[in-house]
Subunit: 246 residues, 2 copies
């Protein structure tokens, strides 16, 4: 994916605050090319305020009079659309659209169109698109805020860009190595001794106690430092019990 | 996935307009349970305006004084976090978090925490979580608007619901319910007291001991029986220490 080949195109935006929100949503996800088609009441303080630290994206936006001009040099045009259309068009959800956008952007100029706050893109505008993008909102409330719609599509593009990375497990960047099976065996011996010392475990009637504790500590995968802390607690507990029995 | 088991929890929100934006983002994706922990300057006209047709979600929000109260009955707690932490915690991106949330919500109460606009969740709050959620923003601009962050996580939950995946989590057929956040709070108090009693923990120089232990036991998600065993061990250890000090 090449983000420099991807244009976000806002068509006839009426609430200029949303333009700021869109700029921020884009920059958060690594997109920077914004085109405004005949925005109403723009520029405006509200837009600058909502752009926060993405004011640069907004200031660098291209402002044009017509959609035709906005997408003139684009080879792959995607139109976002919430409504059902009378004429069927190739349509995919935001995730699959992002795949297509990522692929095309490697070698082509791509535009993603977002329509008016109240009516979205008109049929005439949607018909200029290679693909329609559907964001699967809940049937109870379909109307997405403009900046939110951009956020979701930009997020999916970002995820696509990151997907090259092999999936990382949740503890990929742990600070300490995980304990070995050998360490764990010694820990469980120590734990069992200590539980006998404090008379919590009766060796004559052990029930399922150690089994449950082994399941717990093996499930969590202790790291070496955690293991040391637990061993330290056991040692201190044994000392306490020992002083008592002396 | 059962959306009725998923709470969005906003912790100390300072711009009340964002609460309206969150309500709308949630309803667009089929989530309706909102909890506000000590929101500032709320209710406010700005919130109502931004909620648009999701005013019902906002009006039905639960407002509580503390995070503890908000998550008391939750069995799976996810905290969203942008910043790097000194102690790593189990962390996954929003997509994988949504998988886990979807799975757990089938039978358990789930909370997803979002922090303050300026500082996010504090370390103490993040330590109450079973899992941290990372939204992979671009390194050039990491600071996501609060409602945008909720939008992305809610969208991923919605996608998960639509995928109708039948994969079962590794603990789908566990024999005992998992402990609630309230249970865990009491356990950590008991654990800390005991470590002081056996003189393993010096309250004057606690170092990072409790933080590491909280990470460990939140990571594993104790079930109720395991929690009872550990509480029993602590009680027995305290008795042993008490006999000694008499």
């Amino acid at each position: 994916m090449n983000p420099d080949n991807i244009d976000i195109v806002l068509v006839h935006t009426t609430h200029s605050g949303n333009i700021g929100g869109v700029a921020r949503a884009m920059k958060n996800m690594g997109l920077t090319r914004l085109t405004l088609v005949a925005p109403q009441g723009y520029p405006a303080p509200e837009a600058t305020w909502r752009a926060a630290s993405a004011a640069d994206v907004m200031e660098n936006a291209r402002v044009v009079d017509t959609l035709e001009e906005a997408i003139a040099d684009c080879q792959f045009v995607v139109g976002t659309s919430a409504r059902e259309r009378r004429i069927p068009w190739p349509v995919q959800d935001a995730r699959r659209c992002a795949e297509r956008i990522a692929e095309h952007s490697n070698s082509e100029r791509v535009a993603i169109l977002f329509g008016r706050e109240d009516r979205g893109l008109l049929n005439e505008e949607l018909q200029r698109c290679n693909l329609h993008c559907h964001i699967p909102t809940h049937e109870g409330y379909q109307s997405l805020n403009l900046a939110m719609a951009v956020q979701i599509v930009a997020y999916e593009c970002r995820m696509m860009q990151l997907e090259d990375r092999t999936d990382l497990p949740e503890d990929a960047e742990w600070d300490t190595p995980f304990a070995t099976a050998d360490d764990m065996t010694r820990f469980f011996v120590h734990l069992e001794e200590t539980l006998v010392d404090i008379e919590f475990l009766n060796p004559q009637a052990p029930r399922q106690l150690m089994r449950r504790l082994k399941r717990l500590y093996n499930r969590v995968r202790l790291d070496e430092m955690e293991l040391n802390i637990l061993r330290g607690i056991l040692t201190e507990t044994q000392k306490t019990a020992g002083r008592h029995s002396d």
